[in-house]
């Protein structure tokens, strides 16, 4: 028997022409607690429903114990699901809900009885056998939903945001219980959530998903300490995400200062993203240690620590968490350990679009819009395919959604210390990335204009074989 229980290979899923999951590769080890973590709409529930068998993959395969799952209907798969809103059968009492799967298997009555009682004891609901499920509280219904699934001794238990409907206190308690249950049962848990804290608490392995793609797979510590890109860094915990330049191996420049770091192999003078966790910026009185100074702008007590925002001497904003408060207006001296600087390759340094030069306009297909060529220094024969590079700062966002060349929705916002880096999604699911000083909210509809500044246009050679 191999160590891998579920092996997902090149899995993609589209609904119509909308791609929800894109080339997912993932293996899950036997007995592991794996969490699929991502913002709503990232495709994590779709992935879970494909493992359960409610959805069929568009491409790729899911293997369980080496066997292809496609074509096996959900009722024959050796796994069970805990549904988001529990989906307990309202016409059955607690006992019959839990016994549902066993009765379908036509087990002898005494055996069913024994198993149901045992599992009800496990979830601490022994005295509720005859209760109507609708009279139970949210937490109790949750327990019954878990009992109903695990009583069938599945090889894998799928949990679809099982704690989302509970209040905070209840959620914390259930987290502990789930963790214990997982230990006791030894079943593989595949857990879907959008709550990063829940994922960090529960999981052996976290799979961060965004926009249908796996961003990072790793242990909670890995994911927290070494996020691979700015999305993961921003989504997991609090962080300062900053534009920087890798000067050489182990030397990076950001917020206008040069720092020692531990990263290598990026090359020289390469633009990078730098992540510094707010608890990793230290105050010092020692001038020898001081790397830069800043003025405290705000200081808020958060229970265990104080959360402060400071303006650095070079005009960047940083978030700092510390056990000791510093007064607003106070000038402080700060340093960062080389170990605590996480350098990440930039996913992109500009918007790169491919279009067709049509004389007066360049026509783009996705996102679909036409860019006037007036004022551009280039000239190409009509019909030339061109690659256009648009700097982040050359994209203008307008309040008037019809005032620009095209429009879109603010999809993702990243604060980078002195400006915002926005992801704008157009209606046809194309993307623009924009650097701006203006404050927009997620979900805002904006007009998009392209400034004729710093655009790079090159013809694309016909594809060579």
């Amino acid at each position: 028997m191999t160590d891998t229980i579920i092996d997902i290979k090149h899995l993609s899923k589209s609904f119509g022409d909308k791609q929800v999951l894109n080339d997912i590769n993932l293996y899950i080890r036997r007995g592991e607690f794996v969490t699929l973590l991502g913002p709503s709409g990232c495709g994590k529930t779709t992935l879970l429903r494909m493992i359960a068998g409610f959805l069929q993959p568009t491409e790729g395969s899911i293997l369980m114990d080496g066997k292809e799952l496609a074509g096996i209907p959900p009722h024959q798969r050796p796994l069970n699901t805990v549904f988001q809103r529990y989906a307990l059968f309202p016409h059955l009492d607690v006992y019959d809900n839990v016994a549902f799967g066993l009765k379908l298997k036509k087990l002898p009555k005494e055996e069913i009885d024994k198993k149901v009682r045992r599992v009800l004891k496990l979830v601490a609901m022994s005295d509720y056998e005859d209760r109507d499920v609708e009279t139970l509280s949210g937490g109790q219904q949750q327990r019954i939903a878990i009992a109903r699934a695990i009583v069938n001794q599945p090889k894998v238990l799928l949990l679809d945001e099982p704690l989302a409907a509970l209040d905070l206190k209840m959620r914390k308690d259930m987290q502990t219980e789930l963790k214990e249950m997982h230990k006791k049962l030894g079943i593989t848990f595949v857990y879907v959530t959008h709550d990063q804290e829940e994922a960090l608490t529960l999981s052996d392995t976290i799979v961060v998903i965004n926009q249908g793609k796996i961003q990072q797979i790793g242990t909670p510590t890995d994911i927290y300490n070494e996020p691979v890109n700015s999305f993961v860094a921003d989504f997991i915990g609090e962080s300062n995400i900053l534009n920087g330049t890798m000067l050489q191996d182990r030397r990076v420049s950001f917020i206008g200062h040069d720092f020692d770091c531990v990263d290598e192999g990026f090359g020289e003078n390469v633009p990078v993203d730098v992540v510094v966790r707010p608890e990793d910026i230290y105050f010092t009185k020692d001038p020898a240690k001081t790397q830069f100074t800043a003025v405290v702008k705000s200081c808020v007590f958060k229970g265990v620590h104080y959360e402060m925002f400071v303006d650095t001497d070079t005009g960047n904003e940083l978030m700092i968490q510390d056990y000791d408060p510093y007064g607003v207006g106070e000038t402080v001296q700060l340093y960062i350990d080389p170990d605590d600087i996480q350098v990440m390759k930039k996913e992109r340094v500009c918007n790169t679009l491919e279009g067709v030069w049509n004389g007066d306009y360049i026509d783009f297909e996705k996102p679909e819009f036409s860019l006037p060529t007036e004022g551009l220094k280039h000239d190409f024969p009509k019909g030339t395919k061109v690659k256009v590079e648009i700097p982040f700062s050359s994209v203008d966002l307008l309040d008037d959604i019809d005032g620009g060349l095209t429009n879109g929705e603010v999809h993702f916002i990243l604060y980078k210390g002195d400006h915002y880096h926005l992801t704008i999604r157009t209606e046809d699911r194309g993307y623009f990335w924009v650097d701006t000083q203006d404050i927009w909210d997620k979900g805002d509809l904006v007009g998009i204009n392209i400034k004729n500044k710093g655009l790079k246009i090159q013809p694309i050679e016909d594809e060579k074989a």
Partner: protein, 255 residues
């Protein structure tokens, strides 16, 4: 300021004149002999009136058969209509419901004409056809309503626990749709017991229903016996509605 409850006054008056008063009149007429004296004779007469008793039995039989046929045809129809994958537009449901917009008498007359044109013998078969045709929407609609509102995750959960789609239907969907069926039964069974027009037109009065006898008695000025028969029918209908009431309240099948 006047109390809000005053607003209900017109309705109260309407109810008294058109519902309560007629009911009292039925009761009063039912326990009177022709001269205006008190008697239970009209009611006891029914239990010895072989003709009336057998008609009553036929009525119940026809009503039961109609109801069962309506369930057998209406349930699958409602189920298909409630599925997105089979029923992509709202047009189909409107087509099913549309007959409800047209007066039942007109539809019955048209059906009778159709049978005559086709040269078919009018009898039990045509009667049941007419009944089912008239009352089917009343069965489909409440069942459809319950099915459409039912959370799909129940079926997912059943399948996830190892039920084939067929067993998931019988173990989950069907029991959960019972309030809709109960509403449908109520709306089909009760009016079919008391109908007389359908049997008159679709069997040429070959088959008499309970409603027919009441109508005949009243038409021939036997007010007291007619009233007594009406009372008996009311009680029977009342019993059926009590029977299905608890279920209906639980989920609210109709509307």
């Amino acid at each position: 300021m006047r109390k809000r409850s005053n607003w209900s006054l017109p309705y109260l008056i309407f109810l008294i004149i058109f519902v309560v008063l007629p009911l009292i009149l039925i009761l009063v007429y039912a326990v009177q002999d022709g001269q205006g004296g008190f008697t239970l004779g009209n009611i006891t007469r029914f239990f010895t009136d072989k003709d009336a008793l057998s008609t009553f039995a036929v009525s119940i039989e026809v009503a039961l058969e109609t109801t069962i046929l309506c369930i057998l045809i209406g349930y699958p129809a409602a189920w298909i209509l409630s599925r997105r994958e089979y029923n992509k537009s709202a047009v189909t449901i409107i087509l099913f419901i549309m007959p409800m917009w047209i007066n039942a008498l007109m539809r019955t007359l048209a059906t009778a004409q159709l049978f005559t044109i086709l040269g078919m013998n009018l009898g039990k078969g045509t009667l049941l056809f007419g009944m089912v045709y008239d009352f089917l929407p009343f069965m489909i609609y409440p069942i459809y309503n319950v099915l459409v509102k039912m959370e799909k995750s129940y079926i997912d959960a059943a399948v996830d626990l190892g039920a084939t789609p067929w067993r998931a239907f019988w173990k989950v969907t069907f029991p959960l749709s019972m309030p809709g069926v109960a509403s449908g039964v109520l709306m089909v069974f009760m009016p079919t017991v008391s109908t007389f027009a359908i049997s008159e037109f679709l069997t040429n009065n070959k088959i008499k229903l309970f409603g027919t006898i009441i109508q005949e008695n009243i038409n021939s000025s036997m007010w007291n016996y007619g009233a007594a028969l009406s009372l008996i029918m009311l009680i029977i209908i009342g019993i059926t509605s009590l029977f299905s009431k608890d279920k209906e309240q639980a989920e609210g099948g109709l509307v």
